[in-house]
Symmetry: C2
Subunit: 329 residues, 2 copies
Amino acid sequence: MSHDILILTETELRKAVHLDTQVVETVEQAFAALGTGKVIMPPILSMAIAEANGEVDVKTAYIPGFEGFAIKVSPGFFDNPKIGLPSLNGLMILFSAKTGLVQAVLLDNGYLTDVRTAAAGAVAAKHLAPQKVETAGVMGTGVQARLQIEAAHLVRPFERVLVWGRNPEKAQACANDIAVKLGIEASAESDPARLVAESQLVVTTTPAEEPIFKAEWLHPGLHVTAMGSDQEGKNEIEPRALVDADLYVADRVSQCEKLGELRSAVHAGVWTGAKPTELGEIVQGKQGRVDADQVTLCDLTGTGAQDTAIATFALSTAREAGAGSITKS
Amino acid sequence: MSHDILILTETELRKAVHLDTQVVETVEQAFAALGTGKVIMPPILSMAIAEANGEVDVKTAYIPGFEGFAIKVSPGFFDNPKIGLPSLNGLMILFSAKTGLVQAVLLDNGYLTDVRTAAAGAVAAKHLAPQKVETAGVMGTGVQARLQIEAAHLVRPFERVLVWGRNPEKAQACANDIAVKLGIEASAESDPARLVAESQLVVTTTPAEEPIFKAEWLHPGLHVTAMGSDQEGKNEIEPRALVDADLYVADRVSQCEKLGELRSAVHAGVWTGAKPTELGEIVQGKQGRVDADQVTLCDLTGTGAQDTAIATFALSTAREAGAGSITKS
């Protein structure tokens, strides 16, 4: 039986969805739902294609009350830049949660993933960073370095940004972009220890496989969001930092213990504590930061619930704008 | 960076892909590749949405030498018929195996799955059924009952078909459809024991959760393909039949022990043998049936390799025909 499917291109999705407070609220709702324990979110399907230096991940989640659920396919082919293509691509498909029929195909080439990933950083900062953040630091110089700072600024309007990267020129370029985008002071900082010392909020956004953030850098009144690790081999944060912090929070424990900073800490024998708190539980009201001096650390691996939330939001705004083309199938 | 994506609808795909010997050969190639052990095929991602009586499965596989890999999403929402919609739907997405870019979106609503599932039955019959099949029996009266017989007829041109189903009217309708489609004798048979006794090839195509095929019905010169079980709760074949047969063959052992007839046989404590042979190994030349009197049984759960093969074939034939619409994304 024929039904309508809305096809949306990256260009149309970039017009329909921006990294703003509405998107942060949408992703916050996804975490709130995760916090109720009623979201159905199966383990990530992952396939590596070694001979092409590529991998593909598939995520999904059903959030009760949402009309649809997304299936998100994220290929990462890391030799692409050699031929002028981005490493990360992919699409989302939105299905009716009542009939399973395809509602929309979102050919976003990874754009919606970029946005929902940054928005999760804002949710973490909103609920865990100290109320007053004057300086934010970011480690890494890629797309997420820029977007994480932009997102965090929506919930903590800091006045200064420090950027560290292995490549000083890229760090400077990233700082310049941030300064222009947010109209605030932003500069490259060659010493990561100094970056952390001067910041109340630090976001790590690298694909590091050895820690780039030392536990000894933790200081009172610091919040750290680590969002780079989303694969087994990755590790940005020195494991001891997870227990030295007053509060460690996972976006999803079952994912973080396989793919996040928690994996490295468990593997190193450092994490021996109880089941960590999840970000969704904090959004739901579980105690997070108790005073301005605490040290908090949030581990983000990226959840299918965020994908379902952003895809639902994108379809809704695109429909309102009359964007996209309808295919009968 | 913008690139071309071909969007194909069910109507276009039904014109481009038919259940014929070319499709059977395509799916046979997928099994041959599986038999080499070089295919990368991760476990199925599966999510149940109990409150909608729905589920969704995601399958994929990378076959070396194929330009692309498919991600197949199959929702099954079993209350759909109450509102006039089919239970099974879904789509396939074909990605470049070199760059991960989306090449094509195949909005087939499950059509390609129907075809590649029936084609796997033909591959099983080609390699395992006795050379001479005069009568074929089918248990079940749905889409796959018709397609499995149509596919098997391509490799064993039998002259007579018997159809058994719980509902005699549906069995008669199915027999009528088969008679018209293949131009041969086809009739409903109310006694499943007699159906099996008179057949050299039997295909079971039901969603049964308790065996509908008794081990005592096995007889010399019989081949059985069981393709109904693809979920944990399903079971068509009495477990003892798997060991009573001279040869039990799985499409993929790792799937059959979770989702197929093998699961029930292991669970019942009946299967205690070595690792079963896989269909791909037989296609690659491993010994299958040794004489006309043996009893063989093939357990099909459906593999991502079949999806990658049929999607690649569909894209190729659709391109040749100039079908579909191109979207820039």
